[in-house]
Point group: C2
């Protein structure tokens, strides 16, 4: 709904909603444009493509047919949908990483299986060639991966090792006699597992293995390995000699993807097919690398994986927005139980509990979207080379590790609450909520398990604290923070930058002021992160003087607090991004309403962690009560804008495809009301026994 013709009063101060315009309106179109962000045209084009019926998920399709359909869709994408922008211009791409991710994120609305199948093909398999290969290897191997004539698997994870990539068991031993690498799976736990394209469609794989040459293990490297024959019609045939595997079978979701397992029995690949950007083996077996430290080399090679986390963050936000659009729209139409009058039933969204359940999730989706803009900007700056420094890479890793867990868990919560808010209708697959939730489920554990990622963020926060406290005895904690950093490079630079990058943070110690004020919210949220980190750091100080096992035990005792600190950090990132986004809204009415949304988000966070604020003396019991009562006022204020707020997400009926949110419910109710109106008018309406008895009773 455009509000161009609406009469509006002057812009209120963002920090004092009470003095604001009486009845502000949301400029849905302008707000929607802001949410689409920097790659707006790209996203709109991708959404148009996602709304193409050829791309739609057909609910209940048997697994084999779903897999075949998604493979066809993938080829259609390659041919028609401008999906290769991340690849080199010389090979037909555009070297345009941010745009490529933005486009990819929108595919989730069509079918998350298609999104992830595309992610496997271009974001993982082809991307390994792009980021780990030499220019010669790119020229030779990328074209087939790009045009999907070579569907490929990304063979990193093993059955025995999920998030702990450094410990994989697969070996690649160099044989100088034949100048080949021998790829070998030494035991069942080292089978590659959960790989998209492995069960059926893949004809090659980028295989991660321990590179061994001249008796030395140089750590994990990546190899290009053909795995299946190619049939004359271009489809995948039988496994090549030495390669074996099996189908992972039915999954909890994403059943359009043929995940499977692979194993290798002394499979030989030429020396040239070690993807050699960061490490090379000469004919005689001599290993060389431009990165001297094996640890640093490992993290560098795995660095490109961050784009998976970045894109899942955006996709998870889109799924939330789609689900909330369906639930809020239905909640604005569906009526249940009579309220103030005998004949008119109440619209669901007028119930306070319904608002309580849905509106904070809408606010959260806004916050996440603004945070994602910052993440994607940083990603683009790093991957375009604009600011590709070790520091900015580390900031990117940390921010992705904080945001991906937050948005993927939020997506499961939002989709579940949305489904429950729609009752039995929400359980019908056609309304999308259950299918999206099932598909998104694995987003919380793949591309880095959420808990593992948050622990990495926590370690980075600790390391930064140690760095800030130089000279003070925090060696013990720094040691653990650095030692345990698994497959990312989250160490040795101040985390504060990540938040400051997009916020004028001000002093966290500023006096609290009014709870509703922006400053008060910022202070409370910032203070919590800082205090929690400092407490864990202090608790870990004794680790320095402990044996390894005792130190590990002490660390383990504080694991939960560390993860909570990381969550608090992510909360702060969300809030700062929202506040920055708020500052960029020009329309006064929109800014007013969005200030309420931001306040709802911030105060809801504070309410959720109220025990911490009370225990630590940051809020009094009296103040705590005012938080809850102000949240209730905000819910009432926002209720009339709920539809505008989800409409601005831009997931219209063509994209969400949910029959309950396309007016059918309203039509049915209008028909029912007409029926009763006509019945009353006709004089044929039966008298109710209840009212007869009431009348009889009152006459007595």
């Amino acid at each position: 709904m455009s509000t161009a013709t609406t009469d509006r009063r002057p812009a209120p101060s963002a920090a004092s909603p009470d003095e604001a315009v009486a009845a502000p309106q949301v400029d849905v179109e302008a707000l929607g444009a802001q949410l689409l962000g920097r790659w707006r045209d790209m996203r709109l084009a991708a959404r148009a493509f996602a709304a193409d019926p050829r791309m739609a998920k057909i609910e209940g399709l048997p697994v084999p047919e779903h897999r075949a359909r998604v493979l066809e869709q993938l080829k259609t994408l390659a041919a028609e949908a401008d999906v290769l922008r991340a690849f080199p211009t010389r090979l037909g791409g555009a070297d345009d990483h941010g745009a490529s991710i933005a486009r990819f994120e929108e595919l989730v609305a069509a079918d998350p299986s298609l999104q992830i199948k595309a992610g496997v093909q271009w974001g993982l398999f082809a991307s390994a060639i792009l980021h780990l290969g030499t220019p010669e290897q790119q020229d030779r191997l990328l074209p087939g991966a790009m045009d999907v004539s070579v569907p490929g698997a990304f063979a990193m994870t093993e059955s025995g090792h999920g998030s702990d990539v450094a410990s994989i068991g697969t070996t690649a031993t160099y044989d100088p006699e034949t100048q080949e690498f021998v790829i070998h799976t030494p035991f069942r736990g080292a089978w590659k597992d959960y790989l998209g394209n492995a069960a059926l469609h893949g004809v090659a794989a980028t295989v991660f293995a321990q590179l061994i040459t001249n008796g030395v293990n140089h750590g994990v490297h990546c190899f290009y390995v053909p795995i299946r024959e190619v049939n004359p019609d271009g489809t995948a045939g039988a496994f090549l000699p030495g390669v074996g595997g099996e189908d992972d079978g039915v999954k909890g979701g994403l059943n359009g993807i043929d995940n499977g397992r692979l194993h290798f029995t002394n499979v030989r690949v030429p020396r040239e097919d070690l993807l050699a950007r960061y490490g090379q083996v000469a004919e005689d077996g001599t290993y060389t690398s431009s990165i001297d430290s094996p640890g640093r080399r490992f993290f560098t090679m795995l660095g490109s994986l961050v784009q998976g986390r970045v894109s899942l963050d955006g996709a998870a936000l889109n799924a939330q927005k789609l689900g909330l659009t369906v639930a809020v729209t239905y909640g604005n139409q569906r009526r249940q139980f009579t309220g103030a009058s005998d004949t008119d039933e109440v619209v669901l969204l007028d119930y306070a509990e319904h608002q309580r359940r849905l509106l904070p999730l809408v606010a959260q989706a806004y916050a996440g979207t603004y945070a994602h803009h910052s993440l994607l900007d940083l990603f683009d700056a790093v991957f375009s080379g604009e600011t590709d420094t070790p520091d900015s890479r580390e900031d990117l890793e940390t921010m992705a590790a904080a945001l991906k867990p937050t948005s993927t868990w939020n997506a499961l919560e939002a989709l579940q609450v949305a489904r429950e808010a729609c009752g039995g209708a929400g359980f019908m697959a056609e309304n999308r909520l259950t299918g999206l939730r099932a598909d998104l489920d694995v987003y919380v554990t793949f591309e880095g398990d959420n808990t593992v990622l948050l622990q990495l963020v926590g370690k980075r926060l600790l390391a930064d604290y140690a760095n800030d406290m130089k000279g003070i005895d925090v060696g013990g904690l720094a040691r653990f923070a650095i030692e345990k950093a698994a497959d990312t490079v989250l160490y040795r630079t101040p985390i504060a930058r990540a938040a400051q990058a997009f916020a004028d943070q001000g002093s966290a110690r500023r006096s609290a002021g009014h709870l509703r004020s922006e400053e008060a919210q910022r202070d409370l949220l910032t203070d919590r992160v800082e205090t929690m980190v400092a407490e864990v750091a202090q608790a870990l100080r004794p680790a320095q003087k402990m044996s390894r096992d005792k130190g590990a035990a002490l660390f383990n005792e504080h694991q939960h607090e560390l993860i909570e600190a990381a969550r608090a950090h992510a909360d702060l990132l969300y809030w700062e991004a929202f506040t920055k986004g708020l500052g960029e809204i020009e329309d006064a009415g929109t800014r007013q309403v969005m200030t309420w949304v931001r306040d709802l988000f911030g105060l809801h966070l504070i309410e959720q962690n109220m025990a911490w604020y009370l225990i630590n003396g940051r809020l009094s019991g009296q103040r705590a009560r005012t938080v809850t009562s102000y949240i209730e006022r905000l819910l009432r204020r926002l209720r009339p804008h709920a539809q505008d707020l989800v409409d601005a997400f831009g997931f219209d009926a063509g994209l969400h495809r949910a029959p309950i949110a396309t007016g059918g419910e309203r039509e049915r109710q209008d028909e029912a009301r007409d029926y009763y109106r006509r019945l009353r008018a006709s004089g044929d309406e039966p008298v109710s026994e209840k009212s007869m008895k009431k009348k009889a009773g009152s006459k007595r």
Copy 2:
């Protein structure tokens, strides 16, 4: 693991775990027997049947095949599985209601679709005939419903009205000329919807409609209506004249059930097919009923629906226990990342965060199981006629309305956390977690939407409070509490009975004492319920003097608090039931460990609601910190008993069927360790570049 031969010290006092035996052991067998409860043999027989491969859910089966399989399973149940105990002895049943529900609850382990299909056939369709029909109607209509020669739908819910049954639109108008009722669907919103057996298999339905005779609407009554022809082979044929409908299609789960919609266009049924136990229409159209009040009659007729809620409570607990068994077993075998040593990786359950996530859910499943025993006892007492008074019926309704939401939401939480705790393996359908979660999803909104049920509990709490405060001006709230009671009879008797029924409650105002003590936990949990209810009651006092719409608005403002009070009440029911169960454990070691489990449950509840205790001055900040640190001590104490605690649930491999929890993971790890051990012993192990560099560095 039996502990019969274990050396044990004398029994500790349940309230002081610190003075307890040094290394208590759990008697898994005895604890398991306690968990099976009063109908132990019935449950064991049902579990044996659920473990029959013919009953197993086949993951990924296309919807039509899954539906056909479940129909066959249903017939097998009828023929072989002693499932008709709830029906009259004269018709081949046993008039044994508790046993029947206990057996039914165990079916969830086979396939929740089978459980719910059985629930539709016997718990709803046949049950309507049983509870709403006259003896003559039972004799005539029950046999076909019992032996599934007449698959039937329970046609109550309409597209336009979910939980609000009183407002349904379908009419049944008596025509004295032909002595028939005319069943009619006046508009699209009055289509019957979400009905199991309606899409394909049903040949009859128990249809709820507004009974109209001689120009008077006597409210909702139930009619037996044939809906489809029966083919010569006994299968369902085409719709009968005037009946129409459609398939609900694919759902988020339970796809073994053919849910669908039905509508009626002037379908005539004989006068004799009004199920006439509570209301009859004479040949001339005169209506009579043994229950004078239309409201009371309505609630009485719907009273038998409580058995659905009771059985869903038990089924949801079984699903939790199955899921937690899989996750804890896997967590005890799966290793990830190295901890104290370089070669040995850490078992997942040794990570503090993993314990934090899983063990409180195990404690919760225990609490729920004990609470369910009390509920099922009460159900059996009421339905057997042993104590079938209006008061005990109301207590039963209230307890079911409190426990069903709690256990069904807990099930979704437990299954999700279990799935995430198993990483990618948890997402594989063969490991059951995702499928169970998808199937259980709808348990939170069907048979009474959880939020609606909790609101009913809240109203009952308010009404009791008003009753207790007689003479004080609380008329306004009583008015709303009574007016809004939807499809149950939750009013006018003291709620306190529900908790006191299985607990010597003592004084809630007793001095708090040590937090770990049983009394302190009870006082804190009880105080919270009482205070919350009193606060809502006070807030609603002005409603008495308000207009209807203003009063409704005031009630709406406090809806969230009322629902929170109902949750707190359910928490207390859980805790009291657990404490009662604890008192019945004879083995000292088991009682010791289970005391820790109960304390974990109680303190975890208090921790989750800590803000309330702090704001209301019930706990100091210092005390609050001790709650968290004691929870952490309990987790460490319970960790060695985690496997015993889930083993006692009795969901062995034959029932859970999850490959990851049957030792495969451990075997793979043993194989991998053997490989590395042999490699080291052989002298052929490659040197790692990392360790070479370290050595070189230290020589410099």
